[in-house]
Point group: C2
């Protein structure tokens, strides 16, 4: 087992009708907040009203800023920072999924400095202070509700970069599975894929064979994500399945899962970030395409963990390690395609083979930023070719 | 899935040779600390020197207080509180297992008040402040290194009571598996049994059948504890097995495991606390006796979870639910007896059948304190009879 540090001070409030507790929680640390959300859909499904009532009942004043998009933009962050500063607010409440929460984190850093918060994402500046954040989660996917990372896109430069700081943990996150009842099929599927890939980045990238506690926790998350998603596809208002999915998604990337497996590297996410930076496709869709392609590259020299995945998650025993390992990839790819109904090839989202160099170039910049020496431009292109 | 709140701000530093980081960590919040430990064995196995050197290197001054016993005593706590106050210290470093950490927590509350800290354990007073605690763990068992509970015994009243407060989370816990290399067979076994029972209290007491993420995480912990313990019994210096056991033990009761399963009740611990309060037997030994007895009572009306345990942990499929459920209990009891070599009957530790009323009386007091209405004196005696 490999050394690690784990620290996660986010308070989780989980359960039906917990959205009403948001205001009371916030009132313990803030009086005037910036209320950030994405589309107007939270007004149709009642989450907006539930949040607003909760804030009002607790005497928390708020200024609204809506319009966060998937692959959230640094331009939106800059506008929100200005609004926060203008009104001299004390905290941020993010009502949404990963895009909204990641935006809130970027704003939380930006309001404490006089320079452009994008510099935290390029790595030119380090976070030294941040405003407190509360979350009302509406999508089970990114685990941003319980981690210290944020990913923001810069449309001008076609860069999708991340920032990590212990100051970015939300202070409190309200996880009410009912708030995900109206999430449509494709977004539910994208969230499940994101959860599965989060868990597997650690599992498949670790060379350590003696980490039973780590691997078995990850297998539990992958099995739960698959099982819950299938039930949700049949009945979107199945509370228990939405709940299992929501908690599995949070646990998949809250820092605990994978601790002990060695350095946490994210090569599938690295290449996906380039896809969504350039083509503005949803993160889950990008992972559904990149995931199986990367696995077909990785399995060549490291089949053992894939074979273990086949056995423990898919109850599949092949005639030998290689066959068993390949079966794990085939089963995952088939699940992405046939159950999640997500694209698994670049052509399915209109990305031509002639763009591979451009994508590899973009991803290589992230590879350098993350120190993933194995992933040269050539290797990245080799992986992308498996997704053609 | 049932509603829950989760909050755990303890920082974990895990890995080989991490004991040397203790002083640096403490120096960020304290200059003068009370250094609490149990027996002189930490001087023989080098943990004492490693800790002292780390404190000295970081410029942290310390006063020593040794002699914490298993089933730690409120009298020791009172003496340590006086010492802390006399020297005007700012924090406590606990080097040991659950008894030492629980003592440190009691001292941490006592130094902030002018009354007897036992009142926090009887429930007459509520914790409103506590000194910060750092831990160097030397035994994988109780998870006190990453939770907010403390259990202390009062020899005069033969009471073993607990206190829970979010102020009791250690600030930092150093988990170096090497520090458990010298833990002898029986204590390693007791720790494994404690870990298994911690995990199963939630699993077996939940009526909720739709908590796949919760149950599968618990199954991962139980499987790991069994697998790691067997390897440690053969080779006490097997680093990876000590590491898997250590992290599994911490996860078994850090508040995360079992969240979503419903109210966390601990009937096996309730009866065990009476055994160790009256007879001063090790906690793990008490659980090894009470656990199977309680399971034989519980399975009568709720065989489903036991049957699931048999299938998912022991890969056993019986001809029907009842047979499968009973097999899980038989397999656990056999493991406690034959692998862990722990007693599974009261007579094995010299407790006569004529004492059952006295034990039931004592446990009933805890039952009332914990609000476990099902557990009347008669039911507790019925359970104890299964351990005769």
């Amino acid at each position: 087992m490999q050394p690690f540090e784990f620290y996660n001070p986010t308070k989780i409030i989980f359960g039906k009708d917990t959205t009403s507790e948001t205001g009371k929680e916030i009132s313990s640390f803030a009086e005037n907040v910036l209320f950030i959300y994405g589309k107007e859909s939270i007004k149709r499904n009642g989450i907006y009203d539930k949040t607003v009532n909760s804030l009002k009942n607790a005497g928390v004043n708020f200024i609204e800023k809506s319009g966060v998009k998937p692959n959230p933009s640094i331009n939106f962050v800059r506008e929100a920072v200005d609004l926060y500063k203008k009104h001299n607010l004390d905290a941020i409440v993010a009502v949404g999924g990963g895009s909204v929460i990641d935006t809130a984190k970027a704003v939380a850093t930006g309001v404490k400095v006089d320079f452009d918060p994008w510099l935290f994402y390029t790595g030119e500046k380090t976070v030294e202070d941040a405003a407190p954040i509360a979350v009302v989660l509406t999508l089970a996917a990114t685990a941003s509700e319980m981690n210290s990372g944020s990913v923001i896109s810069n449309e001008e430069t076609q860069q999708k970069f991340n920032c990590v700081s212990p100051l970015l943990f939300p202070k409190v996150s309200v996880l009410d599975p009912v708030n995900t009842f109206t999430v449509p099929y494709n977004q539910t599927a994208n969230g499940a894929i994101d959860t599965i890939i989060h868990a597997l980045e650690t599992y498949l990238n670790s060379e350590d064979k003696n980490i039973m506690i780590v691997d078995s926790l990850i297998e539990a998350i992958v099995k739960t994500a698959i099982d819950s998603a299938e039930k949700i596809f049949k009945n979107p208002e199945d509370y228990d399945s939405r709940a299992n999915m929501m908690w599995a998604a949070t646990l998949a990337l809250n820092g605990l899962t994978g601790s002990g497996a060695g350095p946490k590297i994210f090569p599938m996410h690295m290449i996906e970030h380039s896809l969504s930076a350039i083509y503005d496709i949803p993160h889950g869709v990008g992972l559904s395409i990149v995931g199986p392609a990367w696995m077909k590259y990785k399995v060549q020299n490291s089949p053992e963990k894939f074979a273990k995945l086949a056995k423990n998650v898919f109850q599949f025993h092949g005639p030998n390690t290689k066959a068993q390992a390949l079966a794990a990839i085939a089963k995952l790819e088939s699940w992405f395609k046939n159950e999640a109904k997500a694209p698994v090839r670049l052509s399915e989202v209109g990305i031509p083979e002639s763009d591979l160099d451009k994508i590899a170039e973009n991803a290589y910049e992230i590879s350098c930023k993350w120190g993933l020496k194995e992933y040269t431009k050539e290797i990245i292109k080799e992986i992308l070719e498996k997704a053609v």
